[in-house]
Symmetry: C2
Subunit: 202 residues, 2 copies
DNA sequence: CGAAGATAATTGGTCGCCCAATCAAAAAAG
DNA sequence: CTTTTTTGATTGGGCGACCAATTATCTTCG
C-alpha cells in the first residue's frame, strides 16, 4: 500500500465497508480491529489514523448501513410513480427482500439493535432513521387518503404499524427461514396492510 | 458463602439470573465472567463448576428469558376467559407493556438477536419460541374464526402478522420512547389487528 | 527546473490491560 | 474420612490503543 494524497475520504469509506463485512461475517462480539484491518487490506495502525477509536468506526458503520437502508427503501417506493397502493406495496416488498437477499446489511443492522440499548449515540442514529421512514410511509399513506383509495386515519400511527409489521416479519424470516418464504411473507404482509388501510364499507 | 449440599440447581439458577441482570445493565459486549460472579455474589471459579464455559451461561440465560416471555404472554392471554377478541387484545397489550415496563427482559432478548445471527444454538432456541408463540396466537385466531367474530383466514400467517406487528412496534417504542406512549401504541396496534381480522362486510 | 524541506499517509511493533479458563487447595457437608 | 462445593490466584492469550519510524506526495524557493 503506497500512501497517496487526498484519498483520505476514500480510505475512510473502505475501512467502514470492511467493518460492515466483518460484522456480517463474525458478528458484533467477534469484531476486532485486527480483523477489520485485514479485511480492508491495511495495517492496524491506520485505523486509528482515520478513527479515534473502535467505537467511532462502529458509529460510522451504523451511519452507513442506515443511510443505505434509507436510500433503498425510498428508491423502491419512488420507482412506482404516483399510485399510492403500488408505492406502498413496493416499499413492503423491498424491505422484506432486503432482509433475505441482502442479508449482510440486515444482519449488521439487527446486531446494532442490541448495542443501541446501551449506547445513546447509536440509538439516536437509529431513531432518526425510523422517524424518517415513518414520515416516508406516512406521506404515501396520506397521498392514498387524499386520493380516496385509503381510509382516513392518523398517518404517522399507520406508518408505525406498517413499519413495525415489516420489521417484525423480517425478523421471523431471518431467525427461522423455514417458517415462510419471502414471496409468501410479502403477499400476506401486503394483504394485511391493504386490509388495514381499506376504506370502510358503509 | 458456605457450601451446602444439594443446592446445585439453585446456584445454577442464581448465576443465570445474575447474568441476565448483567446483560440488562452492561449489554452483551460488556458481559464478563468477573461481573457475573460479582453480581451473583460468588467467586469467579465457581462459574466454571456449574457451566462449561461462558457460552453455556449465555445459552442458559436465553433459555430462561425465552421461557419467561413465553409464560407471561400465555398467562396474559389465558386470563381473559373464552372471548377470542379479549384474549388477543390482552396478548397484544401484555407484549407491548413488557417491552416498556419489564425493560430488562426485553433488552436482554433484543441483545440476543444479534448473536443469534452467528450462533445456531441461540437461533434455534428463539425459533422454537417464535413457533410456539405463533401457534398460541394462531389458536386464539382460530377460535375467533370458529365463533364467527373473525373472518376466515390462514391462522398461522395471521399469527405471523400479529406477532410481527407487536415485535416491530415494541422495537420502535424501545428505540425512541418519545415517538409513542405505550397506551397509545397498544390502542393503535389493537385497532390494526382488529381491522385485519374483521369480517368482510358484504 | 530541481533540490530541499514540510506534510500527509502508512506501517508494524509494543504496551498495558483484561479476558476466559484452569487448578490446587481449602472448606463444608455427609 | 470421603465427597461435594467453593475459593482465589495463576496462566496464556488477545485486545485496543499508542507511537516512532518510514514512505510518498506536495510546496517552496534557489
Amino acid at each position: 500500500m503506497s500512501p497517496k494524497r487526498g484519498v483520505a475520504p476514500l480510505r475512510r469509506a473502505e475501512i467502514v465497508r470492511a467493518t460492515i463485512r466483518c460484522l456480517a461475517r463474525d458478528g458484533y462480539s467477534g469484531l476486532t480491529m485486527k480483523k477489520v484491518a485485514r479485511e480492508a487490506g491495511v495495517s492496524q495502525g491506520i485505523l486509528h489514523y482515520y478513527f479515534a477509536d473502535k467505537r467511532a468506526i462502529l458509529v460510522a458503520a451504523l451511519e452507513t448501513v442506515t443511510a443505505d437502508l434509507d436510500q433503498r427503501v425510498a428508491a423502491a417506493q419512488s420507482r412506482e410513480g404516483r399510485d399510492p397502493r403500488a408505492r406502498l406495496l413496493a416499499l413492503i416488498a423491498a424491505c422484506l427482500r432486503l432482509a433475505v437477499e441482502e442479508r449482510a446489511f440486515w444482519i449488521v443492522f439487527v446486531e446494532f439493535w442490541g448495542e443501541m440499548m446501551h449506547d445513546r449515540a447509536l440509538r439516536e442514529i437509529n431513531a432518526a432513521l425510523y422517524a424518517r421512514t415513518r414520515r416516508l410511509i406516512g406521506a404515501v399513506v396520506a397521498q392514498g387518503v387524499r386520493s380516496g383509495v385509503f381510509r382516513r386515519t392518523d398517518v404517522l400511527r399507520a406508518a408505525a404499524v406498517i413499519l413495525g409489521l415489516v420489521d417484525g416479519v423480517s425478523l421471523q424470516l431471518t431467525f427461522d427461514p423455514t417458517a415462510f418464504r419471502v414471496a409468501e411473507a410479502t403477499r400476506f404482509c401486503s394483504d394485511a396492510v391493504m386490509r388495514y388501510l381499506a376504506r370502510e364499507v358503509s
